[in-house]
């Protein structure tokens, strides 16, 4: 079996490690979906997960904020250390964890509420604002960081479902950053968007890097090359290769990575 972590450790990094995952396994019922994955995700970096469909990249992403808890048959083993603390420790409340590790989904999923309420939802449930003025401030800040403030500032009371697809996705990103997470997980955030909206979101992701550790799952290798500094290639539940994005795309170590990048598998 190919030993993935060596590649990861061989990469010299200037940023501190945010997520340190060791010997991670995931089963869906009897299916072994993630096998022996070791990876270290850095702060203030965009890390992209690539690989063919069903390779486990989304599954692994969902482990990072314990979204798999909501699936009955899913079973997770191994250590997922966020700032040195195991997020699967019995004492950890997934609710608190998810406030720290936000998530943006494949399809834009605004709640059937107003734009304002969509963004204010997270801060409200976490009790971040003492009063309405503070909440207004948080919502505005989040919408600005989501690069959508200028488009919606005049219609905050209108339903979020009435926006275009790209706007909806940026609204969802704004909603995710409103709770001031430290890590932002994105599960194919552009797959439902047209090229122009995609470009806008990619630009946004790059800006978000200054503040958060961003992990993005993507189908598009071009996108991974454009937005990420680090890339991990998954295949059949294994982490095949992990390293600097430029390195992976130009000089892959593993023949499987090369086949995927050149379009022979996937």
């Amino acid at each position: 079996m190919y030993d993935a972590p060596k590649t990861a450790e061989s990469t010299v990094s200037q940023n501190e490690i945010k997520f340190d995952c060791r010997d991670c396994q995931v089963w869906y019922g009897d299916t072994h979906a993630i096998k022996d994955v070791n990876i270290q995700i850095e702060d203030n970096t965009v890390t992209s997960f690539i690989g063919p469909s069903g390779c486990g990249k989304s599954t692994f992403l969902r482990c990072l904020n314990r979204m798999n808890d909501t699936i009955d048959v899913a079973r997770v083993e191994g250590q997922f250390l966020l700032d040195g603390e195991d997020i699967y420790d019995r004492k950890v409340d997934p609710v608190q964890l998810r406030a720290k590790v936000g998530m943006v989904f494949q399809k834009p999923n605004p709640f059937p509420k107003s734009i304002y309420d969509n963004v204010a939802y997270g801060p409200k449930i976490h009790g971040m604002a003492k009063n309405k003025a503070e909440l207004d401030e948080i919502v505005e800040r989040a919408l600005r960081r989501g690069a959508i403030w200028d488009e919606v500032k005049d219609r905050l009371d209108q339903p979020g479902t009435g926006l275009s697809g790209g706007q909806q996705q940026r609204l969802c990103i704004a909603r995710a950053v409103a709770t001031e997470p430290e890590v932002l997980l994105m599960d194919e955030p552009c797959s439902a968007l047209d090229p122009i909206a995609t470009a806008l979101v990619e630009e946004l992701i790059d800006e978000l890097r200054t503040r958060y550790s961003v992990v993005i799952v993507t189908h598009s290798m071009q996108q991974a090359a454009r937005v990420s500094q680090k890339t991990a290639f998954f295949h059949l539940g294994n982490l095949v290769e992990f390293g600097d994005t430029g390195e992976i795309f130009t000089n892959p170590n593993d023949p499987r990575t090369e086949s995927y990048i050149t379009g022979r598998i996937g």
Partner: protein
């Protein structure tokens, strides 16, 4: 993206450790637990109600299946018969004979008891006429010992089942406290005992003052004939209507109207169907009142929407590829439907029909309006056609009739009737489940 306040923003998770939870999270988790508890409580309450319902049905209904009988071995000689027949008060003569026999039987068992004719009448009803009728109808039994199993009156029955006790009993022409002593003596002698109440299952309704003799058999037959009507009409009409709507109907106003109609009819209160039956079938068409035929017609109209809705669901579950395959080899649309789609949808249709029938079997309100209330289930119909047209009751209507009678003895019968009704419904539902399990096909 250059907001001054960015760096001072409060963080939701806090920069603190994940391992300890703050006060707010604790509060939120407590709320979570509470909410979950509400849900569990709701389920528990629902199941509790179900339990209470069944316990009260079984506890109150079980006594209806036993009755109290008096066993007397009786031999009447030809001479005694002639002597009794020659008297002026013939039944009195028979009952005197009966009392003598009973006394000698008690003596033989070594039990002492004093009683007179009126006490026997309070306990067993008019024994004399029962005996007389028996010997007049069966003269060949004269001179031979005959075992009589005489039903005790409903109040004596109630004494055995705990409904009547010495403290609550007030002397009346129906039963006196002293009679209970006699009953105890009889029990000691093994003359009076509890037996399975076959007449309840096979018998017809009795008059308002005789709860002991009431049986549900006749109304079971009434329900059976009604279900025949419902099945014979609602299955073909329901299937035909569904086939049209699902397979042939063009999308136009008329089809829309029919669709809206069906979904609304499914939610019209059942009593309104009773009004329809009364006005159309009885007032307008002059069909016989209280007849299972009319009941069946009303219930057919009521069940049709249910059957149509479930039939359409089963037709829709047959994949279009089957239709395409049939059409592809040159079958007409009609042949494709009748040769392929309908047979494949049949298990689902039958399941839906059985469930619809079960619903119709338990329905009461419309039957009351077409006259299936009161003392109508007097006996079994004579013949097949009479089964449809002669006045009869149906199980639920019979239960209602008993529940509204003044004598509390009928309540027991009503609960007993419910046990029988539920047994029928249970059987039908189990058949439906088995059908579904066995023939269900996942495409």
């Amino acid at each position: 993206m250059t907001d001054a306040s960015i760096d001072t923003a409060p963080a939701a998770g806090g920069k603190g450790s994940l391992l300890g939870s703050d006060a707010r999270t604790k509060k939120r988790n407590a709320a979570e637990k509470r909410f979950r508890l509400y849900g569990m409580a709701a389920i528990a309450i629902g199941l509790f109600f179900l339990l209470v319902l069944f316990v009260s049905i079984i506890r109150s209904g079980a006594p209806a299946f036993t009755r109290t009988v008096v066993d007397v071995e009786f031999t009447l000689t030809q001479a005694e018969f002639e002597a009794a027949e020659s008297e002026l008060f013939k039944t009195k003569a028979y009952s005197n004979l009966f009392i003598q026999k009973l006394k000698s039987q008690l003596d033989a068992a070594g039990v002492e008891a004093e009683f007179d004719e009126s006490a026997i009448e309070r306990l067993l009803g008019k024994v004399g006429s029962t005996l007389r009728e028996f010997y007049r109808a069966n003269p060949e039994q004269l001179g031979q010992p005959v075992d009589f199993e005489l039903a005790a009156s409903s109040r004596v029955d109630g004494y055995f089942k705990g409904r009547v006790s010495r403290d609550t009993l007030q002397d009346s022409r129906f039963l006196q406290v002293s009679d209970l002593d006699l009953v105890d003596r009889l029990e000691e002698a093994g003359v009076i005992r509890q037996a399975f109440n076959w007449p309840f299952i096979t018998g017809a309704d009795s008059g308002v003052d005789n709860p002991g003799g009431a049986g549900i058999g006749a109304s079971v037959v009434g329900s059976f004939f009604m279900m025949l009507v419902v099945l014979a009409l609602s299955l073909p009409i329901g299937v035909a209507a569904s086939i049209y709507l699902e397979e042939f109907a063009p999308k136009n106003r008329w089809t829309d109207l029919i669709e809206v109609n069906i979904s609304n009819l499914a939610a019209v209160p059942s009593i309104v169907f009773g009004i329809l039956g009364l006005a159309v079938f009885i007032q307008f068409m002059h069909l016989p009142q209280s007849a299972p035929l009319v009941g069946g017609l009303v219930l057919t109209l009521m069940t049709l929407p249910t059957i149509i809705i479930s039939t359409r669901a089963s037709l829709r579950a047959v994949p279009p590829s089957i239709r395409d395959a049939a059409l592809g080899v040159g079958a007409s649309k009609m042949q494709a439907v009748f040769h392929h789609v309908l047979p494949l949808a049949m298990p689902g249709i039958l399941t839906g029909t059985i469930i619809g029938l079960a619903q119709a079997l338990g329905e009461t309100a419309p039957l009351l309006l077409i006259g299936m209330v009161g003392f109508v289930a007097r006996g079994y119909p004579d013949g097949f056609i009479a089964g449809f047209t002669e006045p009869n009751s149906a199980m639920p209507a019979q239960i209602y009739t008993w529940a509204t009678r003044a004598d509390a003895g009928f309540y027991e019968k009503a609960w007993g009737g419910i046990i029988i009704l539920l047994a029928f419904l249970l059987t039908m539902n189990i058949i439906a489940i088995i059908l579904r399990r066995r023939f269900e096909r996942r495409w």
